[in-house]
Symmetry: C2
Subunit: 324 residues, 2 copies
Protein backbone atom coordinates (compact mmCIF):
# COMPACT_ATOMS: atom_id res chain seq x y z
CA UNK A 1 0.00 0.00 0.00
CA UNK A 2 1.46 3.34 -1.05
CA UNK A 3 1.44 6.30 1.30
CA UNK A 4 -1.44 7.90 -0.61
CA UNK A 5 -3.77 4.92 -0.88
CA UNK A 6 -5.62 2.76 1.67
CA UNK A 7 -8.56 0.36 1.72
CA UNK A 8 -10.75 -0.16 4.79
CA UNK A 9 -13.66 -2.39 5.68
CA UNK A 10 -16.43 -1.61 8.17
CA UNK A 11 -19.68 -3.27 9.21
CA UNK A 12 -23.02 -1.54 9.54
CA UNK A 13 -24.53 -1.68 13.01
CA UNK A 14 -27.98 -2.18 14.44
CA UNK A 15 -28.95 0.12 17.30
CA UNK A 16 -30.61 -1.45 20.33
CA UNK A 17 -31.04 2.00 21.86
CA UNK A 18 -31.66 4.36 18.97
CA UNK A 19 -30.09 7.61 17.86
CA UNK A 20 -32.76 10.03 16.63
CA UNK A 21 -32.32 13.78 16.81
CA UNK A 22 -29.26 15.93 17.39
CA UNK A 23 -28.20 18.48 19.93
CA UNK A 24 -26.02 19.92 17.11
CA UNK A 25 -27.10 18.99 13.58
CA UNK A 26 -23.94 20.15 11.82
CA UNK A 27 -21.51 18.31 14.08
CA UNK A 28 -23.93 15.43 14.67
CA UNK A 29 -23.77 15.65 18.46
CA UNK A 30 -26.71 13.41 19.35
CA UNK A 31 -29.54 14.29 21.70
CA UNK A 32 -29.18 10.95 23.51
CA UNK A 33 -26.67 8.16 24.00
CA UNK A 34 -27.17 4.99 21.98
CA UNK A 35 -26.07 1.37 21.96
CA UNK A 36 -25.52 -0.98 19.02
CA UNK A 37 -24.02 -4.17 17.66
CA UNK A 38 -21.85 -4.40 14.56
CA UNK A 39 -23.22 -6.74 11.91
CA UNK A 40 -20.75 -9.38 10.78
CA UNK A 41 -21.17 -10.55 7.20
CA UNK A 42 -22.40 -7.18 5.98
CA UNK A 43 -19.68 -4.73 5.04
CA UNK A 44 -18.65 -1.66 3.15
CA UNK A 45 -15.23 -1.77 1.50
CA UNK A 46 -13.80 1.62 0.64
CA UNK A 47 -10.57 2.66 -1.06
CA UNK A 48 -9.25 6.21 -0.86
CA UNK A 49 -6.44 7.29 -3.14
CA UNK A 50 -5.10 10.82 -3.06
CA UNK A 51 -3.94 11.94 -6.49
CA UNK A 52 -2.37 15.32 -7.27
CA UNK A 53 -3.71 15.13 -10.84
CA UNK A 54 -7.38 15.15 -9.81
CA UNK A 55 -9.42 18.33 -10.20
CA UNK A 56 -11.84 17.40 -7.39
CA UNK A 57 -12.76 14.48 -5.15
CA UNK A 58 -14.36 11.63 -7.08
CA UNK A 59 -16.75 9.14 -5.52
CA UNK A 60 -17.88 5.83 -6.94
CA UNK A 61 -20.42 3.79 -4.95
CA UNK A 62 -21.31 0.27 -5.99
CA UNK A 63 -19.52 0.78 -9.32
CA UNK A 64 -21.48 3.92 -10.29
CA UNK A 65 -20.66 7.62 -9.91
CA UNK A 66 -22.32 8.92 -6.73
CA UNK A 67 -24.72 11.84 -6.79
CA UNK A 68 -23.41 15.30 -5.96
CA UNK A 69 -24.84 15.39 -2.43
CA UNK A 70 -23.09 12.14 -1.54
CA UNK A 71 -19.84 13.31 -3.16
CA UNK A 72 -19.85 16.56 -1.18
CA UNK A 73 -20.59 14.72 2.07
CA UNK A 74 -17.60 12.42 1.55
CA UNK A 75 -15.49 15.37 0.47
CA UNK A 76 -16.27 17.19 3.72
CA UNK A 77 -14.83 14.28 5.72
CA UNK A 78 -11.73 14.26 3.53
CA UNK A 79 -11.34 18.00 4.11
CA UNK A 80 -11.05 17.31 7.84
CA UNK A 81 -8.26 14.82 7.14
CA UNK A 82 -6.49 17.13 4.68
CA UNK A 83 -6.61 20.00 7.19
CA UNK A 84 -5.03 17.81 9.89
CA UNK A 85 -2.08 16.77 7.71
CA UNK A 86 -1.77 19.89 5.56
CA UNK A 87 -2.49 18.03 2.35
CA UNK A 88 -3.98 19.64 -0.78
CA UNK A 89 -4.57 16.70 -3.14
CA UNK A 90 -8.03 15.52 -4.13
CA UNK A 91 -8.90 11.85 -3.82
CA UNK A 92 -10.51 9.03 -5.73
CA UNK A 93 -12.96 7.19 -3.45
CA UNK A 94 -14.30 3.80 -4.43
CA UNK A 95 -16.85 2.21 -2.15
CA UNK A 96 -19.00 -0.89 -2.35
CA UNK A 97 -21.52 -2.56 -0.05
CA UNK A 98 -22.41 -6.24 -0.03
CA UNK A 99 -25.95 -5.43 1.23
CA UNK A 100 -28.87 -3.28 0.00
CA UNK A 101 -28.27 0.47 0.28
CA UNK A 102 -30.65 2.96 1.84
CA UNK A 103 -33.33 0.67 3.21
CA UNK A 104 -32.73 0.78 6.94
CA UNK A 105 -29.54 -1.27 7.11
CA UNK A 106 -27.48 1.77 8.04
CA UNK A 107 -25.28 1.82 4.94
CA UNK A 108 -24.16 5.33 5.86
CA UNK A 109 -22.73 3.99 9.14
CA UNK A 110 -20.43 1.43 7.54
CA UNK A 111 -19.68 3.81 4.65
CA UNK A 112 -18.41 6.67 6.78
CA UNK A 113 -16.61 4.35 9.21
CA UNK A 114 -14.72 2.76 6.31
CA UNK A 115 -14.13 6.17 4.74
CA UNK A 116 -12.75 7.64 7.96
CA UNK A 117 -10.27 4.79 8.35
CA UNK A 118 -9.26 4.61 4.67
CA UNK A 119 -8.90 8.38 4.26
CA UNK A 120 -6.85 8.87 7.40
CA UNK A 121 -4.50 6.02 6.57
CA UNK A 122 -4.14 7.10 2.93
CA UNK A 123 -3.08 10.49 4.27
CA UNK A 124 -0.65 8.80 6.68
CA UNK A 125 -2.66 10.10 9.60
CA UNK A 126 -2.51 7.59 12.46
CA UNK A 127 -5.66 8.04 14.51
CA UNK A 128 -6.60 6.04 17.60
CA UNK A 129 -9.99 4.37 17.80
CA UNK A 130 -11.51 7.28 19.72
CA UNK A 131 -10.33 9.86 17.15
CA UNK A 132 -11.46 7.64 14.28
CA UNK A 133 -14.89 7.37 15.88
CA UNK A 134 -15.10 11.16 16.15
CA UNK A 135 -14.03 11.57 12.52
CA UNK A 136 -16.56 8.99 11.29
CA UNK A 137 -19.31 10.71 13.31
CA UNK A 138 -18.90 13.91 11.31
CA UNK A 139 -19.93 12.04 8.15
CA UNK A 140 -22.87 10.13 9.63
CA UNK A 141 -23.69 10.04 13.33
CA UNK A 142 -24.15 6.31 13.67
CA UNK A 143 -20.87 5.71 11.77
CA UNK A 144 -19.01 6.41 15.01
CA UNK A 145 -20.49 3.16 16.34
CA UNK A 146 -19.08 1.13 13.43
CA UNK A 147 -15.48 1.90 14.41
CA UNK A 148 -15.10 -0.13 17.66
CA UNK A 149 -15.72 -3.88 17.90
CA UNK A 150 -18.80 -5.86 18.88
CA UNK A 151 -21.27 -4.18 21.23
CA UNK A 152 -20.77 -0.45 21.20
CA UNK A 153 -22.02 2.53 23.16
CA UNK A 154 -22.00 6.05 21.79
CA UNK A 155 -21.27 8.52 24.59
CA UNK A 156 -23.25 11.52 23.37
CA UNK A 157 -20.96 14.15 24.84
CA UNK A 158 -21.62 17.82 24.36
CA UNK A 159 -18.91 18.86 21.91
CA UNK A 160 -16.99 17.57 18.89
CA UNK A 161 -14.21 16.15 21.06
CA UNK A 162 -16.45 14.43 23.62
CA UNK A 163 -18.90 12.64 21.30
CA UNK A 164 -17.60 9.18 20.31
CA UNK A 165 -18.32 5.47 20.62
CA UNK A 166 -16.57 2.76 22.62
CA UNK A 167 -16.85 -0.99 22.77
CA UNK A 168 -18.60 -2.24 25.91
CA UNK A 169 -18.26 -5.94 25.02
CA UNK A 170 -16.42 -7.86 22.31
CA UNK A 171 -18.29 -9.98 19.72
CA UNK A 172 -17.70 -13.20 21.67
CA UNK A 173 -19.47 -11.80 24.76
CA UNK A 174 -22.95 -12.96 23.68
CA UNK A 175 -24.11 -15.27 20.89
CA UNK A 176 -26.79 -12.85 19.77
CA UNK A 177 -27.71 -12.99 16.10
CA UNK A 178 -29.54 -10.42 13.97
CA UNK A 179 -31.74 -11.85 11.22
CA UNK A 180 -32.49 -8.92 8.96
CA UNK A 181 -35.84 -9.52 7.28
CA UNK A 182 -35.53 -7.57 4.04
CA UNK A 183 -38.98 -6.46 2.91
CA UNK A 184 -37.88 -3.69 0.54
CA UNK A 185 -34.78 -2.87 -1.43
CA UNK A 186 -35.95 0.53 -2.61
CA UNK A 187 -34.25 3.65 -1.32
CA UNK A 188 -36.22 5.32 1.44
CA UNK A 189 -37.93 8.64 0.73
CA UNK A 190 -36.44 10.53 3.67
CA UNK A 191 -32.87 9.70 4.60
CA UNK A 192 -31.77 9.64 8.22
CA UNK A 193 -29.82 12.88 8.01
CA UNK A 194 -32.88 14.97 7.13
CA UNK A 195 -35.06 12.83 9.41
CA UNK A 196 -32.95 13.78 12.44
CA UNK A 197 -33.76 17.43 11.79
CA UNK A 198 -37.49 16.64 12.04
CA UNK A 199 -37.29 14.91 15.44
CA UNK A 200 -37.90 18.16 17.31
CA UNK A 201 -41.20 18.74 15.48
CA UNK A 202 -42.78 15.76 17.25
CA UNK A 203 -44.64 16.52 20.49
CA UNK A 204 -43.13 13.23 21.77
CA UNK A 205 -39.39 13.76 21.25
CA UNK A 206 -38.81 15.50 24.59
CA UNK A 207 -40.48 12.63 26.47
CA UNK A 208 -38.48 10.09 24.46
CA UNK A 209 -35.23 11.86 25.36
CA UNK A 210 -36.14 12.33 29.01
CA UNK A 211 -36.48 8.57 29.48
CA UNK A 212 -33.44 7.69 27.32
CA UNK A 213 -30.78 7.43 30.05
CA UNK A 214 -32.95 4.89 31.91
CA UNK A 215 -33.36 2.78 28.75
CA UNK A 216 -29.67 2.99 27.92
CA UNK A 217 -28.74 1.79 31.41
CA UNK A 218 -31.33 -1.02 31.28
CA UNK A 219 -30.11 -2.18 27.87
CA UNK A 220 -26.45 -2.05 28.86
CA UNK A 221 -27.17 -4.05 32.02
CA UNK A 222 -29.25 -6.66 30.17
CA UNK A 223 -26.57 -7.01 27.50
CA UNK A 224 -23.73 -7.38 29.98
CA UNK A 225 -25.78 -9.91 32.01
CA UNK A 226 -26.90 -11.73 28.83
CA UNK A 227 -30.51 -11.41 30.06
CA UNK A 228 -32.52 -11.82 26.86
CA UNK A 229 -35.93 -11.15 28.39
CA UNK A 230 -34.92 -7.80 29.89
CA UNK A 231 -33.00 -7.01 26.71
CA UNK A 232 -36.01 -7.71 24.45
CA UNK A 233 -38.35 -5.55 26.52
CA UNK A 234 -36.17 -2.44 26.39
CA UNK A 235 -35.07 -2.94 22.77
CA UNK A 236 -38.65 -3.15 21.46
CA UNK A 237 -39.76 -0.23 23.61
CA UNK A 238 -36.89 1.91 22.37
CA UNK A 239 -37.60 1.07 18.72
CA UNK A 240 -41.28 1.88 19.15
CA UNK A 241 -40.39 5.17 20.82
CA UNK A 242 -38.26 6.23 17.86
CA UNK A 243 -40.97 5.31 15.35
CA UNK A 244 -43.53 7.07 17.55
CA UNK A 245 -41.48 10.26 17.20
CA UNK A 246 -41.05 9.69 13.47
CA UNK A 247 -44.74 9.17 12.74
CA UNK A 248 -45.73 12.22 14.79
CA UNK A 249 -43.19 14.56 13.18
CA UNK A 250 -44.24 17.25 10.71
CA UNK A 251 -44.19 15.96 8.03
CA UNK A 252 -44.87 12.49 9.39
CA UNK A 253 -42.31 9.75 8.65
CA UNK A 254 -43.94 6.35 8.39
CA UNK A 255 -41.18 3.94 7.39
CA UNK A 256 -43.18 0.76 8.00
CA UNK A 257 -44.65 -1.28 5.18
CA UNK A 258 -47.27 -4.05 5.40
CA UNK A 259 -44.60 -6.76 5.59
CA UNK A 260 -42.87 -4.83 8.39
CA UNK A 261 -46.00 -5.31 10.48
CA UNK A 262 -46.30 -8.95 9.44
CA UNK A 263 -42.82 -9.64 10.81
CA UNK A 264 -43.41 -7.66 14.02
CA UNK A 265 -46.66 -9.52 14.72
CA UNK A 266 -45.16 -12.92 13.89
CA UNK A 267 -42.18 -12.41 16.20
CA UNK A 268 -44.40 -11.11 19.01
CA UNK A 269 -46.43 -14.32 18.70
CA UNK A 270 -43.26 -16.46 18.78
CA UNK A 271 -42.03 -14.70 21.90
CA UNK A 272 -45.41 -15.22 23.58
CA UNK A 273 -44.82 -18.90 22.84
CA UNK A 274 -41.49 -18.84 24.69
CA UNK A 275 -38.97 -18.30 21.89
CA UNK A 276 -36.32 -15.67 22.70
CA UNK A 277 -36.78 -13.26 19.79
CA UNK A 278 -37.55 -9.57 19.45
CA UNK A 279 -37.59 -6.91 16.76
CA UNK A 280 -36.05 -3.52 16.19
CA UNK A 281 -36.39 -1.27 13.17
CA UNK A 282 -34.15 1.53 11.92
CA UNK A 283 -35.17 4.34 9.57
CA UNK A 284 -36.54 2.01 6.91
CA UNK A 285 -39.01 -0.83 6.42
CA UNK A 286 -36.72 -3.80 7.08
CA UNK A 287 -37.01 -5.60 10.39
CA UNK A 288 -34.04 -6.67 12.48
CA UNK A 289 -35.02 -9.80 14.37
CA UNK A 290 -32.74 -10.51 17.32
CA UNK A 291 -32.42 -13.96 18.79
CA UNK A 292 -29.83 -16.29 20.30
CA UNK A 293 -27.69 -18.47 18.05
CA UNK A 294 -29.25 -21.75 19.16
CA UNK A 295 -32.72 -20.46 18.17
CA UNK A 296 -31.64 -19.02 14.85
CA UNK A 297 -33.03 -21.84 12.72
CA UNK A 298 -36.51 -21.67 14.29
CA UNK A 299 -36.68 -17.91 13.77
CA UNK A 300 -35.37 -18.19 10.24
CA UNK A 301 -37.99 -20.81 9.33
CA UNK A 302 -40.72 -18.57 10.71
CA UNK A 303 -39.46 -15.58 8.72
CA UNK A 304 -39.23 -17.59 5.52
CA UNK A 305 -42.94 -18.35 5.72
CA UNK A 306 -44.00 -14.67 5.91
CA UNK A 307 -45.26 -13.20 2.61
CA UNK A 308 -43.30 -10.09 1.69
CA UNK A 309 -40.02 -11.17 3.27
CA UNK A 310 -37.72 -11.08 0.24
CA UNK A 311 -34.47 -12.07 1.87
CA UNK A 312 -32.98 -12.82 5.28
CA UNK A 313 -29.49 -11.60 6.16
CA UNK A 314 -27.92 -13.44 9.10
CA UNK A 315 -25.51 -11.38 11.16
CA UNK A 316 -23.64 -12.38 14.32
CA UNK A 317 -21.80 -9.66 16.28
CA UNK A 318 -19.16 -8.06 14.08
CA UNK A 319 -15.63 -6.81 14.62
CA UNK A 320 -14.25 -3.28 14.34
CA UNK A 321 -13.50 -1.24 11.25
CA UNK A 322 -10.18 -2.51 9.85
CA UNK A 323 -7.72 -2.04 7.03
CA UNK A 324 -8.09 -4.52 4.16
CA UNK B 1 -94.55 0.37 23.75
CA UNK B 2 -95.39 -0.60 27.34
CA UNK B 3 -94.06 1.36 30.29
CA UNK B 4 -91.48 -1.35 31.02
CA UNK B 5 -90.12 -1.86 27.53
CA UNK B 6 -88.25 0.37 25.07
CA UNK B 7 -86.09 -0.02 21.98
CA UNK B 8 -83.35 2.45 21.04
CA UNK B 9 -80.97 2.83 18.14
CA UNK B 10 -77.51 4.46 18.25
CA UNK B 11 -74.63 4.86 15.83
CA UNK B 12 -71.00 4.15 16.62
CA UNK B 13 -68.70 7.14 16.24
CA UNK B 14 -65.23 7.70 14.88
CA UNK B 15 -63.00 9.95 16.96
CA UNK B 16 -61.03 12.65 15.14
CA UNK B 17 -59.36 13.61 18.41
CA UNK B 18 -58.97 10.41 20.38
CA UNK B 19 -59.92 9.38 23.90
CA UNK B 20 -57.18 7.26 25.46
CA UNK B 21 -56.59 7.11 29.20
CA UNK B 22 -58.77 8.19 32.11
CA UNK B 23 -58.45 10.61 34.95
CA UNK B 24 -60.85 8.26 36.81
CA UNK B 25 -61.02 4.71 35.46
CA UNK B 26 -64.15 3.65 37.35
CA UNK B 27 -66.26 6.65 36.33
CA UNK B 28 -64.58 6.92 32.93
CA UNK B 29 -63.66 10.57 33.36
CA UNK B 30 -61.22 10.97 30.44
CA UNK B 31 -57.74 12.43 30.63
CA UNK B 32 -58.43 14.65 27.61
CA UNK B 33 -61.34 16.06 25.62
CA UNK B 34 -62.19 14.35 22.34
CA UNK B 35 -64.11 15.01 19.15
CA UNK B 36 -65.99 12.59 16.92
CA UNK B 37 -68.54 12.02 14.19
CA UNK B 38 -71.45 9.60 14.41
CA UNK B 39 -71.45 6.99 11.66
CA UNK B 40 -74.73 6.80 9.74
CA UNK B 41 -75.57 3.38 8.34
CA UNK B 42 -73.92 1.52 11.20
CA UNK B 43 -76.10 1.01 14.24
CA UNK B 44 -76.80 -0.90 17.39
CA UNK B 45 -80.46 -1.64 18.13
CA UNK B 46 -81.19 -2.50 21.74
CA UNK B 47 -84.39 -3.46 23.52
CA UNK B 48 -84.68 -3.35 27.31
CA UNK B 49 -87.67 -4.97 29.00
CA UNK B 50 -88.00 -4.96 32.77
CA UNK B 51 -89.74 -8.11 34.00
CA UNK B 52 -90.57 -8.88 37.64
CA UNK B 53 -90.32 -12.61 36.93
CA UNK B 54 -86.60 -12.53 36.01
CA UNK B 55 -84.00 -13.75 38.53
CA UNK B 56 -81.24 -11.56 37.10
CA UNK B 57 -80.51 -9.30 34.12
CA UNK B 58 -80.22 -11.22 30.86
CA UNK B 59 -78.19 -10.03 27.89
CA UNK B 60 -78.35 -11.28 24.34
CA UNK B 61 -75.95 -9.76 21.78
CA UNK B 62 -76.28 -10.57 18.10
CA UNK B 63 -78.73 -13.40 18.94
CA UNK B 64 -76.38 -15.18 21.37
CA UNK B 65 -76.11 -15.02 25.17
CA UNK B 66 -73.39 -12.54 26.12
CA UNK B 67 -70.44 -13.51 28.29
CA UNK B 68 -70.59 -12.79 32.00
CA UNK B 69 -68.29 -9.76 31.87
CA UNK B 70 -70.50 -8.09 29.26
CA UNK B 71 -73.66 -8.98 31.18
CA UNK B 72 -72.31 -7.47 34.40
CA UNK B 73 -71.22 -4.32 32.57
CA UNK B 74 -74.71 -3.81 31.14
CA UNK B 75 -76.23 -4.66 34.50
CA UNK B 76 -74.19 -1.94 36.19
CA UNK B 77 -75.73 0.67 33.88
CA UNK B 78 -79.21 -0.66 34.58
CA UNK B 79 -78.48 -0.43 38.32
CA UNK B 80 -77.92 3.32 37.90
CA UNK B 81 -81.32 3.60 36.22
CA UNK B 82 -83.06 1.42 38.83
CA UNK B 83 -81.59 3.48 41.66
CA UNK B 84 -82.86 6.72 40.11
CA UNK B 85 -86.45 5.46 39.81
CA UNK B 86 -86.54 3.11 42.80
CA UNK B 87 -87.21 0.06 40.66
CA UNK B 88 -86.27 -3.51 41.66
CA UNK B 89 -87.06 -5.60 38.56
CA UNK B 90 -84.39 -7.24 36.45
CA UNK B 91 -84.39 -6.75 32.70
CA UNK B 92 -84.11 -8.67 29.47
CA UNK B 93 -81.66 -6.86 27.14
CA UNK B 94 -81.53 -7.76 23.48
CA UNK B 95 -78.92 -6.01 21.35
CA UNK B 96 -77.75 -6.38 17.77
CA UNK B 97 -75.20 -4.59 15.59
CA UNK B 98 -75.31 -4.37 11.82
CA UNK B 99 -71.46 -4.12 11.70
CA UNK B 100 -68.52 -6.27 12.94
CA UNK B 101 -68.08 -6.28 16.71
CA UNK B 102 -64.82 -5.66 18.54
CA UNK B 103 -62.53 -4.73 15.69
CA UNK B 104 -62.05 -1.03 16.10
CA UNK B 105 -65.48 0.16 15.01
CA UNK B 106 -66.41 1.22 18.53
CA UNK B 107 -69.28 -1.22 19.04
CA UNK B 108 -69.22 -0.46 22.75
CA UNK B 109 -70.01 3.20 22.01
CA UNK B 110 -73.21 2.51 20.09
CA UNK B 111 -74.09 -0.36 22.44
CA UNK B 112 -73.99 1.69 25.63
CA UNK B 113 -75.60 4.73 23.99
CA UNK B 114 -78.53 2.59 22.84
CA UNK B 115 -78.65 0.83 26.21
CA UNK B 116 -78.72 4.11 28.15
CA UNK B 117 -81.62 5.42 26.09
CA UNK B 118 -83.59 2.14 26.02
CA UNK B 119 -83.08 1.41 29.73
CA UNK B 120 -84.05 4.89 30.92
CA UNK B 121 -87.17 5.00 28.75
CA UNK B 122 -88.21 1.45 29.71
CA UNK B 123 -87.98 2.62 33.33
CA UNK B 124 -90.03 5.73 32.46
CA UNK B 125 -87.03 7.90 33.32
CA UNK B 126 -87.04 10.96 31.06
CA UNK B 127 -83.43 12.11 30.74
CA UNK B 128 -82.25 15.08 28.72
CA UNK B 129 -79.45 14.65 26.20
CA UNK B 130 -76.80 15.77 28.67
CA UNK B 131 -77.94 13.30 31.35
CA UNK B 132 -78.20 10.51 28.78
CA UNK B 133 -74.66 11.24 27.65
CA UNK B 134 -73.45 11.00 31.27
CA UNK B 135 -75.31 7.72 31.78
CA UNK B 136 -73.94 6.21 28.57
CA UNK B 137 -70.40 7.29 29.56
CA UNK B 138 -70.52 5.11 32.68
CA UNK B 139 -70.87 2.03 30.45
CA UNK B 140 -68.22 2.94 27.90
CA UNK B 141 -66.49 6.31 27.76
CA UNK B 142 -66.90 6.95 24.05
CA UNK B 143 -70.59 6.00 24.27
CA UNK B 144 -71.29 9.48 25.59
CA UNK B 145 -70.35 10.78 22.12
CA UNK B 146 -72.95 8.55 20.42
CA UNK B 147 -75.85 10.30 22.18
CA UNK B 148 -75.84 13.75 20.48
CA UNK B 149 -76.14 14.27 16.71
CA UNK B 150 -73.51 14.66 14.02
CA UNK B 151 -70.16 16.12 15.07
CA UNK B 152 -69.71 15.79 18.80
CA UNK B 153 -67.28 17.04 21.41
CA UNK B 154 -66.79 15.33 24.75
CA UNK B 155 -66.12 17.92 27.45
CA UNK B 156 -63.84 15.91 29.73
CA UNK B 157 -64.93 17.60 32.96
CA UNK B 158 -63.53 16.55 36.30
CA UNK B 159 -66.46 14.75 37.92
CA UNK B 160 -69.37 12.46 37.06
CA UNK B 161 -71.73 15.39 36.52
CA UNK B 162 -69.38 17.50 34.39
CA UNK B 163 -68.17 14.88 31.90
CA UNK B 164 -70.50 14.63 28.89
CA UNK B 165 -70.68 15.17 25.13
CA UNK B 166 -72.44 17.84 23.08
CA UNK B 167 -73.06 18.33 19.41
CA UNK B 168 -70.91 21.07 17.86
CA UNK B 169 -72.38 20.70 14.35
CA UNK B 170 -75.28 18.79 12.87
CA UNK B 171 -74.76 16.06 10.23
CA UNK B 172 -75.59 18.45 7.38
CA UNK B 173 -72.77 20.83 8.36
CA UNK B 174 -70.10 19.07 6.28
CA UNK B 175 -70.34 16.36 3.61
CA UNK B 176 -67.55 14.34 5.17
CA UNK B 177 -67.70 10.61 4.62
CA UNK B 178 -65.93 7.83 6.51
CA UNK B 179 -64.98 4.79 4.42
CA UNK B 180 -64.16 2.09 6.94
CA UNK B 181 -61.64 -0.28 5.38
CA UNK B 182 -62.30 -3.54 7.21
CA UNK B 183 -59.12 -5.61 7.29
CA UNK B 184 -60.07 -7.94 10.14
CA UNK B 185 -63.29 -9.16 11.71
CA UNK B 186 -61.67 -10.98 14.61
CA UNK B 187 -62.13 -9.67 18.13
CA UNK B 188 -59.15 -7.68 19.35
CA UNK B 189 -56.92 -9.17 22.07
CA UNK B 190 -57.06 -6.19 24.39
CA UNK B 191 -60.34 -4.32 24.60
CA UNK B 192 -60.43 -0.56 24.99
CA UNK B 193 -61.49 -0.63 28.64
CA UNK B 194 -58.36 -2.46 29.79
CA UNK B 195 -56.25 -0.58 27.22
CA UNK B 196 -57.17 2.75 28.83
CA UNK B 197 -55.68 1.52 32.10
CA UNK B 198 -52.34 0.93 30.35
CA UNK B 199 -52.05 4.44 28.90
CA UNK B 200 -50.18 5.72 31.93
CA UNK B 201 -47.46 3.09 31.52
CA UNK B 202 -46.24 4.73 28.30
CA UNK B 203 -43.47 7.32 28.67
CA UNK B 204 -45.33 9.29 25.97
CA UNK B 205 -48.83 9.64 27.45
CA UNK B 206 -48.05 12.81 29.44
CA UNK B 207 -46.69 14.52 26.31
CA UNK B 208 -49.73 13.37 24.31
CA UNK B 209 -52.07 14.84 26.93
CA UNK B 210 -50.14 18.08 27.28
CA UNK B 211 -50.62 18.86 23.59
CA UNK B 212 -54.24 17.63 23.48
CA UNK B 213 -56.06 20.96 24.06
CA UNK B 214 -54.16 22.48 21.13
CA UNK B 215 -55.15 19.60 18.84
CA UNK B 216 -58.75 19.68 20.01
CA UNK B 217 -58.98 23.39 19.25
CA UNK B 218 -57.30 22.95 15.85
CA UNK B 219 -59.63 20.10 14.90
CA UNK B 220 -62.75 21.94 16.07
CA UNK B 221 -61.74 25.03 14.09
CA UNK B 222 -60.94 23.04 10.93
CA UNK B 223 -64.23 21.16 11.20
CA UNK B 224 -66.31 24.29 11.71
CA UNK B 225 -64.49 26.02 8.82
CA UNK B 226 -64.75 22.90 6.64
CA UNK B 227 -60.97 23.16 6.03
CA UNK B 228 -60.07 19.63 4.93
CA UNK B 229 -56.31 20.19 4.73
CA UNK B 230 -56.03 21.49 8.29
CA UNK B 231 -58.47 18.82 9.43
CA UNK B 232 -56.45 15.98 7.84
CA UNK B 233 -53.18 17.14 9.39
CA UNK B 234 -54.46 17.21 12.96
CA UNK B 235 -56.58 14.05 12.61
CA UNK B 236 -53.66 11.94 11.38
CA UNK B 237 -51.32 13.41 13.99
CA UNK B 238 -53.78 12.67 16.77
CA UNK B 239 -54.33 9.09 15.62
CA UNK B 240 -50.57 8.51 15.42
CA UNK B 241 -50.15 9.96 18.91
CA UNK B 242 -52.65 7.52 20.37
CA UNK B 243 -51.03 4.54 18.64
CA UNK B 244 -47.62 5.82 19.75
CA UNK B 245 -48.83 5.63 23.35
CA UNK B 246 -50.38 2.20 22.77
CA UNK B 247 -47.27 0.66 21.23
CA UNK B 248 -45.03 2.04 24.00
CA UNK B 249 -47.24 0.85 26.86
CA UNK B 250 -46.25 -2.11 29.06
CA UNK B 251 -47.35 -4.50 27.72
CA UNK B 252 -47.22 -2.98 24.26
CA UNK B 253 -50.46 -2.74 22.27
CA UNK B 254 -49.87 -3.00 18.54
CA UNK B 255 -53.29 -3.02 16.92
CA UNK B 256 -52.07 -2.57 13.34
CA UNK B 257 -51.95 -5.42 10.85
CA UNK B 258 -50.13 -5.54 7.49
CA UNK B 259 -53.25 -4.39 5.62
CA UNK B 260 -53.64 -1.49 8.08
CA UNK B 261 -50.28 -0.19 6.86
CA UNK B 262 -51.16 -0.86 3.24
CA UNK B 263 -54.22 1.40 3.56
CA UNK B 264 -52.33 4.12 5.45
CA UNK B 265 -49.56 4.20 2.83
CA UNK B 266 -52.02 4.16 -0.08
CA UNK B 267 -54.05 7.06 1.32
CA UNK B 268 -50.91 9.05 2.09
CA UNK B 269 -49.90 8.63 -1.56
CA UNK B 270 -53.36 9.72 -2.76
CA UNK B 271 -53.22 12.84 -0.60
CA UNK B 272 -49.76 13.67 -1.93
CA UNK B 273 -51.41 13.52 -5.34
CA UNK B 274 -54.00 16.11 -4.32
CA UNK B 275 -56.97 13.98 -3.26
CA UNK B 276 -58.58 15.13 0.02
CA UNK B 277 -58.34 11.94 2.10
CA UNK B 278 -56.80 11.01 5.42
CA UNK B 279 -56.82 8.11 7.85
CA UNK B 280 -57.58 7.56 11.49
CA UNK B 281 -57.51 4.30 13.44
CA UNK B 282 -59.23 3.35 16.69
CA UNK B 283 -58.22 0.50 19.02
CA UNK B 284 -58.23 -2.12 16.28
CA UNK B 285 -56.75 -2.87 12.87
CA UNK B 286 -59.45 -1.34 10.65
CA UNK B 287 -58.74 1.98 8.99
CA UNK B 288 -61.22 4.85 8.85
CA UNK B 289 -60.57 6.78 5.65
CA UNK B 290 -62.09 10.26 5.72
CA UNK B 291 -62.84 12.15 2.54
CA UNK B 292 -65.43 14.50 1.06
CA UNK B 293 -68.56 13.10 -0.54
CA UNK B 294 -67.61 14.16 -4.07
CA UNK B 295 -64.34 12.22 -3.83
CA UNK B 296 -65.86 9.11 -2.28
CA UNK B 297 -65.85 7.06 -5.47
CA UNK B 298 -62.15 7.68 -6.16
CA UNK B 299 -61.18 6.71 -2.62
CA UNK B 300 -63.44 3.67 -2.69
CA UNK B 301 -61.87 2.44 -5.95
CA UNK B 302 -58.40 2.84 -4.48
CA UNK B 303 -59.37 0.91 -1.35
CA UNK B 304 -60.95 -1.90 -3.38
CA UNK B 305 -57.61 -2.53 -5.08
CA UNK B 306 -55.66 -3.03 -1.82
CA UNK B 307 -55.02 -6.67 -0.89
CA UNK B 308 -56.31 -7.44 2.59
CA UNK B 309 -59.22 -4.99 2.50
CA UNK B 310 -62.15 -7.35 3.05
CA UNK B 311 -64.98 -4.86 3.07
CA UNK B 312 -65.64 -1.12 2.90
CA UNK B 313 -68.37 0.45 5.05
CA UNK B 314 -69.49 3.87 3.84
CA UNK B 315 -70.67 6.23 6.55
CA UNK B 316 -71.81 9.84 6.24
CA UNK B 317 -72.33 11.86 9.44
CA UNK B 318 -75.00 10.21 11.60
CA UNK B 319 -77.83 11.47 13.77
CA UNK B 320 -78.32 11.13 17.53
CA UNK B 321 -79.32 8.10 19.55
CA UNK B 322 -83.10 7.73 19.17
CA UNK B 323 -86.05 5.57 20.15
CA UNK B 324 -87.08 3.03 17.52
Amino acid sequence: MSDLRATAIAHPNIAFIKYWGNRDDDLRIPANGSLSMNLAGLETRTTVEFDADLKRDELTVNAAPANEAARLRASALLDRVRRQVGMAAWARITSANNFPTGSGIASSASAFAALALAASRAASLELGELQLSILARTGSGSACRSIPAGFVEWRPGDSHETSFAESIALPAHWDLVDLVAVVSRTHKHTGSASGHRLAGTSPLQAARLEDAPRRLAACRAALLARDFEAFAAVVELDSHLMHAVMMTSSPALLYWQPATLAVMQAIAALRSGGLPACTTIDAGPNVHVLTLANHRQAVQSALESIPGVQDILICPPGGPARLA
